[in-house]
C-alpha cells in the first residue's frame, strides 16, 4: 500500500481497520517531504509536534475500536495565509516573518476536529497576490509536473503538495483564481466555494468581498468531503452565510443526465491556447455523451472582468494591509525616529514589489478625485458581470470553460510584465466577482505532458451540482476514486 497516494476514504479505512496507523502515515508524508520538497519548495514550515499529537489521538481511537471522525488520520497541508495557533504564519511575506498566531483559522480548526493531521504551512504568493507563486518572499514553488515551470498561484504550494503526494488534501484560498488556476497547472482538483460558504475567520484578508477558502485534492470526492467538513455558518465571520450544508458526498452519485451546461463563447476566443481548447472541447463532448445538454450562452461583459477585479481587489487590499505597521505584530523597522517613519520604513522594507504595486494601485483608485472614476465605476461593472451570470443561469445549471488560457508557463517568464501576469486570471476572476462557486478538474495534457484544467461554474450555493458534474466526468475519464 503506497501510503502517499491514498485518498481520504482509503486513509480513514486503513487506519480504522488497523492496516496502518495515523502515525505511520504522518511519517511517510514527512519522509516524502524530506526527499521531494527541496526541489519543489511547497512547504514553508512543518508542524511535526502538532501533527504527531493529533496522529496519536487518532491511533488511540482506532486501537479502542472506536469509529474515527470523517478525516481521521488524513495528512493535510494549510496555505500560509490561514493562521494556525502557535505555528508560525507568514502569508508568504517578510513582514510577518516572525508571527506566531494566538488562534486558529476556523476552517483549519474544523478539519482538525474531524481528525485531520496538519503537516505544515504551504508556500504561496505574498498575501495571496500572484498567479505563479513567484511573489513569495521566501522562495518560489516548482511545478511537480515540470520543475522548470510555475505551479500557478497564489496557492502554488497547496497545488504542488497534492500533485507531488506530499499531502492528501490541502487548503488554499481564492480571490481571483488562486485555487483553480494552480489546480489546473498542477493537474489536481481545486474547489472554490460560494462566497460566504466557508468562514473567513483566520484567513489573513486580501480582498474581503472576494476571498474564499477551499480544498485542493486528488479526487472530486475528496473535495466534497472537505467542503462538508469546513462549510457552514460561523459566528466569528459575519459574512459567512446562514445557509444549510448539504451532504455533498451523498449528492455526488446523482446522475447528470438532463443537466444543462452552458458554453460561453467569450471563454473560447482569441488568446486561448490551441491544445487547451481541444482538450476542453473534448471534455464537453464527454459530458454531452453522459447526457448533459450543451447550450450556447453569452457572458458579454467578460472582457471587463480583469480591469474590474484589479480595481476592486487592490482597493480592498490597500485597506486590509494598512494593519501591517510594525505596532502589534510582525517585523518593525529598527532605525525609525518617529512613529510615521516607523510605519513607512516597516512597510516599505517588509512588503514585496507586487504587494506594494497593488497597494499603490488600490490607494490611487480610492483617493479623492479618483474614487468615482475608478472604484465606484468598477463596482457598477461588477453588477453587470453578476447580471450576465444571473441571465445565463436562467437557462443552464452550470457553465463549463477552460480554467486558464494556457498551461503552466516557465519560471521567470512573466515576472517583468505585471499586466501579462494579471491576464492569466481571465477565466477565473469572473466567478470571484459574482460570488459564484467554481471547480477545476484535470481534463488532459499537452504534447509536453503539461496538465490542462476544465472549469465548472455553478449558481450560488449550488456546489452540489458542480461537484456532481465533475465527479461524473472524473469517473468517465477512468480516474480511481
Amino acid at each position: 500500500m503506497d501510503l502517499n497516494t491514498l485518498t481520504i476514504n482509503a486513509v480513514r479505512s486503513a487506519v480504522q481497520e488497523r492496516k496502518t496507523t495515523a502515525t505511520s502515515l504522518a511519517e511517510a508524508f514527512y519522509s516524502k517531504i524530506k526527499n521531494e520538497d527541496p526541489q519543489i519548495g511547497a512547504y514553508l514550515i512543518l508542524s511535526k509536534e502538532r501533527a504527531f499529537a493529533k496522529a496519536a489521538e487518532i491511533d488511540a481511537l482506532a486501537a479502542k475500536g472506536q469509529k474515527l471522525p470523517p478525516l481521521g488520520g488524513v495528512p493535510v497541508g494549510v496555505k500560509d495565509v490561514m493562521v494556525t495557533r502557535d505555528v508560525r504564519t507568514t502569508a508568504g511575506s517578510k513582514i510577518l516573518g516572525n508571527y506566531i498566531p494566538p488562534y486558529d483559522c476556523t476552517a483549519v480548526a474544523r478539519m482538525e476536529v474531524a481528525g485531520a493531521v496538519v503537516l505544515g504551512k504551504l508556500n504561496c504568493d505574498e498575501f495571496a497576490m500572484g498567479s505563479s507563486n513567484e511573489n513569495s518572499a521566501w522562495h518560489p514553488v516548482h511545478n511537480p509536473r515540470d520543475r522548470s515551470r510555475v505551479p500557478g498561484g497564489s496557492s502554488g504550494g497547496s497545488a504542488a503538495a497534492v500533485a507531488a503526494d506530499m499531502a492528501v488534501v490541502t487548503l488554499g484560498s481564492d480571490t481571483g483564481g488562486s485555487i483553480r488556476q494552480p489546480a489546473s497547472f498542477c493537474g489536481v482538483v481545486g474547489l472554490m466555494p460560494t462566497y460566504g460558504r466557508v468562514s473567513r475567520y483566520g484567513l489573513i484578508a486580501f480582498a474581503s468581498s472576494l476571498d474564499r477558502i477551499g480544498p485542493l485534492t486528488k479526487t472530486v470526492k475528496d473535495a466534497a468531503t472537505v467542503l462538508r467538513t469546513i462549510a457552514g455558518r460561523d459566528p466569528m465571520d459575519a459574512t459567512s452565510a446562514e445557509v444549510p450544508v448539504p451532504d455533498y458526498v451523498a449528492e455526488l452519485e446523482k446522475p447528470v443526465r438532463g443537466l444543462k451546461l452552458g458554453v460561453a463563447k467569450e471563454y473560447f476566443g482569441e488568446g486561448l491556447d490551441a491544445e487547451v481548447r481541444n482538450s476542453v472541447e473534448a471534455a464537453i463532448q464527454k459530458l454531452a455523451q453522459l447526457g448533459c445538454e450543451i447550450i450556447p450562452v453569452s457572458l458579454p461583459h467578460t472582457q471587463y472582468a480583469i480591469p474590474t477585479y484589479y480595481i476592486v481587489a487592490t482597493a480592498e487590499a490597500s485597506s486590509n494591509l494598512a494593519r501591517f505597521d510594525g505596532v502589534r505584530y510582525g517585523d518593525r523597522a529598527r532605525d525609525a525616529r518617529t512613529l510615521s517613519e516607523m510605519y513607512r520604513r516597516t512597510r516599505d522594507q517588509g512588503f514585496g514589489t507586487e504587494v506594494k504595486r497593488r497597494i499603490m494601485l488600490g490607494t490611487y483608485a480610492l483617493s479623492a478625485g479618483y474614487y468615482d472614476a475608478y472604484y465606484l465605476k468598477a463596482q457598477k461593472v461588477r453588477t453587470l458581470l453578476a447580471r450576465d451570470f444571473e441571465d445565463a443561469f436562467r437557462q443552464v445549471d452550470a457553465i463549463v470553460t477552460p480554467t486558464s488560457p494556457t498551461v503552466a508557463f516557465k519560471l521567470g517568464e512573466k515576472v517583468d510584465d505585471p499586466l501579462s501576469m494579471y491576464l492569466a486570471d481571465i477565466f477565473t476572476v469572473t466567478a470571484d466577482l459574482a460570488g459564484l462557486p467554481g471547480i477545476s478538474v484535470p481534463c488532459g495534457e499537452t504534447r509536453e505532458k503539461l496538465p490542462i484544467g476544465l472549469q465548472i461554474l455553478g449558481k450560488h450555493f449550488d456546489e452540489a451540482t458542480i461537484l456532481r458534474i465533475a465527479h461524473s466526468y472524473e469517473l468517465e475519464r477512468g480516474i480511481k476514486n
Binding site: 480591469p307 494598512a322 518617529t338 514589489t353 499603490m360 472614476a373 499586466l419
Partner: protein, 112 residues
C-alpha cells in the same frame, strides 16, 4: 489619465510607504500601463447601474424586512453587563516587536 511622479509620491504618502527612488520609477511606469488598460471600463455606460459593494447583500438576508433588520442574522445581542471571553493581554502582546508588558511601545508620536 496620466499618472505623474507627484501622484506617485502623494499616493505612497497615503499608503504609508517610504518608496526608494528606483521604486518610484517602477511604480510610475506600472501604474500608467495598468490604468491605461483599466481605462476600457469607460466603454461601458453605467449611469443606470447600482454599485455592488458585496455579493452577500442578497443571500442570508431576511427579505421580509427592510434596512438593517434584513441582516439580523449577522448581529448579536448587546452585552450590557460583564465581558465576553476575549484574547488575554499577554497573548495579545506576544507578537509585539516592542512592548512594556502592558502597552505596545512605539517611537514618539509628537515632535516637540
Amino acid at each position: 489619465m496620466k499618472v505623474t511622479e507627484k501622484d506617485v509620491v502623494y499616493v505612497a504618502d497615503l499608503a504609508d510607504l517610504e518608496l526608494t527612488e528606483t521604486e518610484r520609477g517602477v511604480f510610475l511606469r506600472d501604474l500608467n500601463s495598468i490604468l491605461d488598460y483599466i481605462d476600457r471600463l469607460n466603454q461601458l455606460d453605467t449611469t443606470a447601474v447600482l454599485p455592488m459593494a458585496q455579493v452577500s447583500d442578497k443571500y442570508g438576508a431576511d427579505k421580509s424586512e427592510t434596512g438593517s433588520a434584513r441582516f439580523a442574522y449577522a448581529s448579536r445581542e448587546d452585552i450590557h453587563e460583564g465581558l465576553r471571553k476575549s484574547l488575554p493581554r499577554e497573548v495579545a502582546l506576544q507578537n509585539a516587536p516592542g512592548s512594556d508588558g502592558t502597552f505596545f511601545k512605539v517611537p514618539k508620536v509628537i515632535e516637540r
